[in-house]
Amino acid sequence: MSILVIAEHDNAELKGATLNTIAAAKAMGGDIDVLVAGAGCGAVGEAAAKIEGVNKVLVADNAAYEHQLAENVAKLVADLGKDYSHILAPATTTGKNMLPRVAALLDVQPISDIIAVESADTFKRPIYAGNVIATVQSSDAIKVITVRTTAFDAVPAEGGSAAVESVDIADDAGVSSFVGEELAVSDRPELTSARVVISGGRGMQNGDNFEMLYKLADKLGAAVGASRAAVDAGFVPNDMQVGQTGKIVAPDLYIAVGISGAIQHLAGMKDSKVIVAINKDEEAPIFSVADYGLVADLFEAVPELETKL
């Protein structure tokens, strides 16, 4: 058995999601190779080689892979992946965009968003927004899988010394091109890897009031998220959304402020270690999953919390 893990990176840095994905690969057993596809991504390859438990790092450095266009990268991964028993990528927007395309090229039914490894061909995954957990077994020769990163503890980023090989395949499908990107710039930690997450909901009333949460976040070294209601109301941008259709988070501490707790939102945060809910409606469903509930007006409680910390 041999497993190919697709590294998540931005050509400069290896992203933490790769480490969680390698943890899932370890649970399946077998040699683990990592593919770094990008442009000018040599440093990422070096970083991947240091990850504990990695057998070999393949670096495909070509302009066609610079922006992770699925049409190009999927061809490369399908070419290289033919010789592996498993192909894994993190269930990030990049992984979800690319891996099913790889699977179809290999005539495989992929398995999305696994949260547990039962054996080399059997996995658990959430369906119906996390209301049901399905155990699925694949009969395909190659298993093509995306991994929910919050469900697996990251392997150490240091301690390995894998060989780095460059791959000389330039697959440009010629049907897509990158136009531009608008990425949120923030000094705060990334939502999916932050130790503490503070999220605001419709109860925040407007985008300006999120300032309160940012202040609290800076005190706790936290990331700030939002419910779908807050995003749909235009308070904050979409990349802050925590939930079934947004980001899945599982921090040590999750503070839900003015969030009622729709199933859609709970699906994205209920695996957090400690959940705090602040809401003035004591019947809000969020209290049924909260370890600590505070029934209070958030506009008084949040500033008070900030001063008391």
Binding site: L69, A70, N97, A103, S138, Y292
Partner: protein
């Protein structure tokens, strides 16, 4: 240009599903079924493109049992021109759906296929990407904005760090995210008109597609329940608990 829109029949998003007692599958007996919300957004986008004069014909496709006609009729009431049902009572996995769609794309030759990014039952988020691989078309997944410009389409995509825009040569595939648009409600006259619009029926055999499942669901179970904790009286008690009991700050 012609657009193909795929719509899926799923358990209504307001229904909280539960596993059957024997854990063999999800209990869907007597629950309300609807068009998948992401597919509804796909239909709306196609209709808006038609209203702008970019699109001339919208073909709505669904796959599954006979009752999927209801979801096709919904799409027709929203503005699609005709429907195709790929009828089967067998289990259809995303790869099989993508293969059936590929067969229909070969036949219909649309300039764009618009579909939801995922269905709210299986939560797979695969079919559009797989159709892309099978047809060789470019894919604009998780779209929040779609602009057709001559022989190409610009798609703004919701990605983890923010937004990304790609340009795809037509024909291309677009999968919809939540904020692409807000679907309209079908008016009563349009619902009546939809009943008269053409709806063809075919099946996977006719399309020459092998739909044999590749994965088997061994078990379904409820997720580990989280227990409700305690209510704290005030902020001071909250801080004390977080420091001394939970030890997270």
């Amino acid at each position: 240009m012609k657009v193909l829109v795929a719509v899926k029949r799923v358990v209504d998003y307001n229904v909280k599903v539960r596993p059957k007692a024997d854990g063999s599958d999800v209990d869907t007996a007597n629950v309300k079924m609807s068009i998948n919300p992401f597919c509804e957004i796909a239909v709306e986008e196609a209709v808006r493109l038609k209203e702008k004069g970019v699109v001339s014909e919208i073909v709505a496709v669904s796959m599954g049992p006979k009752q999927c006609q209801e979801q096709i009729r919904t799409a027709l009431a929203l503005g699609a021109d005709r429907g195709i049902l790929v009828e089967t009572d067998a289990e259809l996995q995303p790869l099989a759906v993508a293969k059936c769609l590929k067969a229909l794309v070969d036949k219909e030759e649309p300039q764009m296929v618009i579909m939801g990014k995922q269905s709210i039952d299986g939560d797979n988020n695969q079919t559009g990407q797989m159709l892309g691989a099978l047809t060789g078309m470019g894919q604009g997944t998780f779209a929040s904005e779609v602009t057709v410009e001559g022989e190409s389409v610009k798609v703004t995509r919701e990605i983890d760090g923010g937004l990304q825009t790609v340009e795809l040569k037509l024909p291309a595939i677009v999968t919809t995210d939540l904020r692409l648009n807000e679907p309209r409600y079908a008016s009563l006259p349009n619902i009546m008109k939809a009943k008269k619009k053409p709806l063809d029926t075919t099946n996977p055999e006719e399309l020459g597609v092998d739909i044999t499942p590749r994965t088997k669901t061994l078990k379904v179970e409820p997720p580990a329940e989280r227990q409700a904790g305690v209510k704290v009286a005030d902020v001071a008690e909250l801080v004390e608990k977080l420091k001394n009991e939970a030890k997270v700050i």
